[in-house]
């Protein structure tokens, strides 16, 4: 199976940026603590969770597969793009791999900025871009026994053709 090959494949840690792929529940308090910074006037956290019902279909759990070294590189690239577009003090991304039951978090985006407007905008940008670009795939396990890989609506953008949304 395609799991992160080494610890180094699964994370980036710089002073202002923290990106990790994790196989255990996402530690929200740890992410919020990383974002704490006296230069910030607002922290924005987005947490994506496993939804039990999609229409009439009941999801028992999601499983995430990942091209780990590239996912980390791509998430870093997006975070650096966000830091260039907005005056972010800090940013963090967590993505869980393997099985994620209903109501548990699969992804966390956190940003700290001097003012809330840029924090909201940068956070939205990062989750929207991650869902298009990061080479991570989810498989739905439905209550009726079906196992179904979810395919994104559009292929990822190639470098130089970024739409920015």
């Amino acid at each position: 199976m395609t799991r992160p090959r080494t610890t180094d494949d699964a994370r980036v840690e710089t002073g202002r940026l923290s990106i990790r792929l994790v196989h255990e529940p996402i530690d929200v308090a740890e992410a919020a603590a990383f974002l704490a910074d006296p230069r910030a006037g607002g922290l924005d956290l987005f947490i994506g969770t496993t939804r039990r019902w999609t229409g009439d279909a009941e999801t028992l759990e999601l499983s995430y597969e990942c091209y780990a070294p590239m996912a980390v590189k791509e998430m870093r690239r997006l975070a650096e793009e966000a830091m260039a577009r907005w005056p972010l003090v800090r940013a963090c991304i967590r993505h869980r791999l393997g099985t994620v039951p209903p109501a548990e978090a699969s992804v966390l985006i956190g940003v700290a900025a001097p003012h809330r407007a840029e924090a909201f905008e940068a956070c939205r940008f990062l989750i929207d871009r991650l869902k298009r670009q990061a080479p991570i795939w989810k498989r739905e396990a439905y209550a009726d026994g079906r196992l179904e890989w979810v395919q994104g609506e559009r292929p990822p953008d190639l470098p130089g053709l970024d739409t920015g949304s």
């Binding site: 199976m1 395609t2 994506g48 995430y64 597969e65 990942c66 091209y67 070294p69 590239m70 996912a71 590189k73 993505h95 699969s106 992804v107 989750i127 991650l130 869902k131 298009r132 670009q133 990061a134 080479p135 991570i136 795939w137 989810k138 498989r139 890989w149 979810v150 395919q151 994104g152 609506e153 559009r154 292929p155 990822p156 953008d157 190639l158 470098p159």
Partner: protein
């Protein structure tokens, strides 16, 4: 270009994930191509050996050495080429 790659073969490592991994029945393979070769040449070859790829060809994007790259990209000996179907993380 490098003389060593204008004649003979070059080998690339191909990585496959999620639905495509299941349809093709493997998660990694080594492919030898006549040099010079592009990403499109690699996909053509893979499609011959793995007909299941055909249905995904319009939406597959290539990552060469962990960066998205157009199919016109020239491949080099030892490149790692991932076949990326539309992603669904988050």
């Amino acid at each position: 270009m490098n003389d060593e790659t204008t004649n003979g073969a070059l080998r690339v490592r191909v990585l496959v994930f999620s639905i495509l991994r299941e349809k093709m029945g493997c998660d990694a393979l080594t492919v030898a191509l006549d040099a010079p070769a592009t990403g499109a040449d690699l996909l053509d070859r893979l499609e011959r050996d793995h007909p299941a790829l055909r249905a995904f060809r319009p939406v597959v994007r290539l990552a060469v050495n962990q960066t998205y790259a157009p199919e016109t990209t020239a491949l080099a000996e030892g490149d790692e080429v991932a076949l990326i179907t539309p992603v669904s993380g988050g």
